[in-house]
């Protein structure tokens, strides 16, 4: 297989010059002289009926140009995602159902005036008793958060084999309950939108988001105008990780522009962002596992309860992914997984890098660790024994495609991490310190599943000067998607990466490519780029054949030069383009790709929407516990992934390392504390993410493999790294000090409490 020119090479990211010079424009960087400041008035209570809203005093303040409430929305006063249950602004007579509900929107000439307007709006609430506990919410007699629907938003399940028989067969049963926490995205850029009418009277909205075309639909729907009258432009985005997948303040900003005729900037403060935007769902996982005395898994029965807040958001979808990953990367002949999306008055849950995988596999990997202990079996051997093999059916009925990564990443991680030489390091390096090691083996399923439309359009134009424009409707918020897609275009068309100009997502200039989520971009959008490039490269090669008289298989285009049998010819891309133009061969194209799956791999009788493609990964954690204070030091995290061909080494490494750092925060320090529906730590001072002095040594590696299904053989890399971190660390703590921490984060307090109980023999 010949070497590639652009694929797999180190190259700076697309847009790097803008970023390192400080010229990159993010949503908040758009200013104009006549721009108004928009702000939202959020509810004072997490659960209350709105009795009255009096905006009159606010309207009297000089410089306040508009004050809107729910009744002023010309179109639909709701978001429209998987349901239309979430109002943009709660109206009089309606109920606020979580702390992030808005009741009014203001536009004023400056910040101080906007704040004064908010202060002057008088809202009368009748406080209601809220539901703040998932298990209280699913009680049959529980008060309903919504009069018209159950607190169980959805109950989905997968079932394979005979679970009762499987447990009967088991020599050992491990049953535990695991609890994960409410996690905040904490991207450095809070949500915001800047809206204005453009010179053609079109409503233009700049917003850091993940699904601009979907946002456009929603803006148009609420403004009561045709979709074609709205344009969404995505500037540089300061991180998203799923938190900007759902529409946030774009519609409110557009409503204010519609009401005032003026440009409006509506940027959430950090506190407003933490209060209002969706978070990673806390999930309670009841996990029961059965195995023979030799360690062979016979059955699992798993129940997951996700606290989704009051609205549908993406909770049912997260729980689908939970179901898909509940077994871990193992062969389990009998399984039953029940997933409950629960409605409460707590802060809302939504998409967050991993999307149910971290919660599911925290439980599954802690369980495997416990099983190994109770059987007195090597935790590596136990996992290798049960690892899913290519061709076997996973617990969701889908046939495993190349699953060699499960074992190969494990073997590599053991060597790379020093785990195989761990006996050379002291387990008690000081009287108060204990060292331990933990392993986690996981799978990262990607794409949206066979039941969901998962597609993309891409656009390519080949210019006379031999450069290329890639019209890219999918968002790059730092994960490097534009670079990878440009690399695919460059490699396929035979130009240099520098010669590919990427037009960033703009609903006027780029067709819909779906959301930047579910680690789908490389696969779906990458294939779309290939489909788009194909007719263009065909045109160019026809001319190349004409010019050289050679056979197509003897010719290659690299960096805009034509090679015959690896020898440089006299012909450049410009010659080929000129020739193709003259012959009216197609040189610009819009291509389309919709997810394609191998025939016959799904079994709908087990589960109807599993993932087909997986990236397998193993993480090994080395930790030190201070047994007198509970302080946990993670010395090293080693992550090995089988992500197929790595299209961009720095980008992929960045996803591995960054995802691990995020998983580390999730494991040890991050938690939104909620009390009666109110979050208590709404700042980056009180919600802690890892600083440079906190991150452990992180070693990452990719196996040298290729996927048969991904563009240029690549697989997803971006969500997996988060997933095994918490279980690996919790398993390492168990190894170090003999306590099982089944609730994360593993804080010093939690660890101390567990150590105290152990010392007292409780």
């Amino acid at each position: 297989m010949s070497d590639f020119t652009v694929i797999g090479k180190r190259t700076p990211a697309k847009g790097h010059r803008d970023i390192i010079t400080g010229h990159a424009k993010y949503t908040t960087d758009f200013y104009s002289a006549d721009m108004l400041v928009g702000r939202l008035l959020y509810t004072q209570h997490p659960c209350a009926r709105v009795l009255n809203i009096d905006t009159s005093k606010a309207l009297e303040i000089p410089g306040v140009i508009a004050v809107l409430t729910g009744k002023d929305v010309p179109g639909e006063n709701s978001y429209d995602l998987y349901a239309t249950d979430q109002p943009l602004m709660i109206e009089v007579g309606g109920c606020v159902r979580y702390q992030g509900d808005a009741v009014a929107a203001v536009a004023a000439k400056d910040e101080a005036t906007a704040q004064a307007a908010l202060d002057a709006i008088e809202v009368e609430y009748e406080q209601l008793e809220g539901l703040y506990d998932v298990f209280a919410a699913v009680e049959p007699k529980a008060k309903q958060v919504w009069p018209e629907r159950s607190n169980t938003l959805s109950h989905n399940f997968s079932q394979q084999g005979d679970v009762e028989a499987g447990f009967a067969e088991a020599d050992i049963i491990i049953e535990n309950t695991y609890q994960t926490q409410l996690m905040e995205h904490a991207y450095l850029e809070p949500e915001g939108a800047v809206s204005m009418y453009d010179e053609n009277g079109i409503m233009m909205v700049y917003a850091g988001c993940q699904a601009p075309h979907r946002d456009r639909r929603q803006v148009a729907r609420s403004l009561g105008v045709a979709e074609s009258q709205v344009r969404v432009v995505v500037p540089y985005v300061g991180g998203a990780f799923g938190g900007k997948d759902e529409t946030h303040v774009q519609i409110h900003a557009a409503l204010l522009t519609q009401a005032t005729g003026k440009p409006v900037r509506l940027i959430r403060s950090r506190e407003e962002s933490i209060r209002a935007h969706v978070k990673r769902h806390p999930i309670t996982v009841k996990h029961k596992l059965g195995a023979t005395k030799d360690g062979k898994l016979t059955a699992i029965k798993v129940e997951g309860y996700a606290d989704g807040g009051p609205y549908a958001n993406m909770t049912s979808q997260v729980m689908e992914v939970f179901i898909i990953h509940a077994s871990g990367p193992y062969f389990v002949p009998n399984s039953r997984v029940d997933a409950y999306a629960v409605i409460t008055n707590n802060p809302a849950g939504g998409a967050f890098r991993g999307f149910g995988m971290p919660q599911a596999q925290f439980a599954s990997e802690r369980q495997m660790d416990e099983l190994a202990r109770q059987l007195n079996m090597d935790p590596v051997e136990l996992r290798l024994l049960n690892g899913i093999q290519t061709g076997q059916k996973k617990a969701t009925g889908v046939t495993a495609l190349d699953a060699s990564g499960m074992r190969n990443t494990m073997k590599e991680a053991i060597a790379l991490s020093g785990y195989d030489k761990r006996h050379e390091l002291s387990r008690e390096p000081a009287p108060h310190l204990r060292r331990g090691w933990g392993i986690a083996s996981i799978m990262q399923g990607y794409l949206l599943g066979p039941k969901v439309v998962d597609d993309a359009y891409m656009g390519l134009e080949m210019h006379i000067d031999g450069s290329v424009t890639l019209r890219c409707g999918v968002v790059d918020y730092g994960q490097g998607s534009h670079t990878v897609l440009a690399q695919i275009a460059a490699e396929t068309l035979g130009v240099s990466l520098d010669d590919v100009h990427v037009i960033r997502p703009d609903t006027d200039k780029t067709l819909e490519a779906g959301s930047a989520c579910a680690a789908r971009v490389t696969h779906i959008c990458g294939h779309a780029v290939l489909r788009t490039a194909k007719p263009i490269i065909d045109s160019l090669m026809k001319i190349a054949v004409d010019l050289t008289g050679a056979n197509e298989y003897e010719l290659a285009l690299k960096n805009g030069q034509l090679f015959k049998d690896d020898q440089l010819t006299e012909y450049q891309m410009t010659d080929l383009v000129k020739g193709a133009r003259a012959k009216r061969y197609l040189l610009s194209h819009t291509g389309y790709f919709s997810a394609e799956y191998p025939e016959g791999i799904f079994d709908e009788t087990v589960f109807d929407n599993p993932c087909a493609f997986y990236t397998y990964a193993t993480k090994i954690a080395q930790v030190l516990v201070d047994i007198e204070t509970g302080e946990l030091t993670v010395e090293k995290l080693t992550l090995v992934q089988d992500a197929g061909r790595i299209l961009n080494p720095d980008g992929a490494r960045g996803q591995s390392e960054g995802g691990t750092a995020m998983g580390f925060g999730y494991a040890v320090m991050e938690e939104i504390i909620v009390d009666q529906g109110r979050s208590k730590n709404n700042s980056l001072e009180s919600y802690l993410i890892p600083t440079a002095k906190d991150v452990p040594e992180i070693i990452t590696k990719f196996l040298d493999t290729q996927s048969d299904y991904g563009p240029y053989g690549g697989r997803a890399v971006s969500e997996g790294p988060v997933v095994p971190t918490a279980p690996a660390i919790a398993n390492a703590v168990r190894d170090a000090v003999g306590v099982s921490i089944n609730t994360i984060p593993v804080t010093a307090e939690r660890l101390m409490e567990a150590l105290d109980k152990k010392n007292k023999g409780v």
Partner: protein
Amino acid sequence: MYGNEYIAPKDIGEALDVLERHPNAKIIAGGTDLLVQMRHRMIEPELIVDVGRLPFDSILVDHEKVTIGSGVSHAQIGNSDLLQEHFPILVQASQLVGGPSIRNRSTLGGNLMNASPAADTIPPLLAYDAEVVIAGKNGSRTLPLSQFYTGYRQTKLAAGEILEAVQLPLPSASTTAHFIKHGNRRSLYIAVLNVAVRISLSASGAVENSRIALGCVGPTVFLAKAAEAQLQGKLIDEPTILAAAQCAEEESTPISDLRASGDYRSNIVAVLVRRALTEAAGELLGKGH
């Protein structure tokens, strides 16, 4: 955006005049506490008086004491060889305040006047027997830092006065100190527990005096007097240290907050006091005492 009047007096006389005429004015130095409080609308002063132009930014030494101006930044303290030589745990604590860019602006005076029980520099200052120098219309007055705090975020600074400097007596040759800041993260963190200890030995090798200052386990940073009494006149050994550590725990009255529960804080007071004393004692041994 803070909609307030602002004045930056160029000398102390002007500053005191302004404060007299505007009793509700708020002083700004580095702004790293004040502006955060104003952002949260905890205070909304009509006038901000910037003391940053006053001549309070020097570190001076004479034969008996060091004087640190209230306007000296934590970064300046961190870079001071003089302070490192005589007051190493003050330097250490100063370098743990916030992060590098915060430390370039935040001042020693600001840390003291913010008067948080979680302040990082107060425990070392108490351990070193610091005194505060206060400027007022009637001239300067000095009082021990150990008497400066009267309650939660309450100080003895009277209306119209400005904290001018902190004075520290030069420690004896047979003095060591140790500081531990315990928290939930390793940078940009507010302490869960602060412990600063200082031990000075007499010629016989017994403890001549000691200070054990605790932060985050009471309404103010305080000296654990009963714990100190355990060490007084004794030769330092493990049982003495343990007794002192135990006393320190009993003198603590921690509350629960977002960072930690009161129980957790209680549970680690003795551990960290013991460790700090052990380290300090070990250093003395190292010095040949």
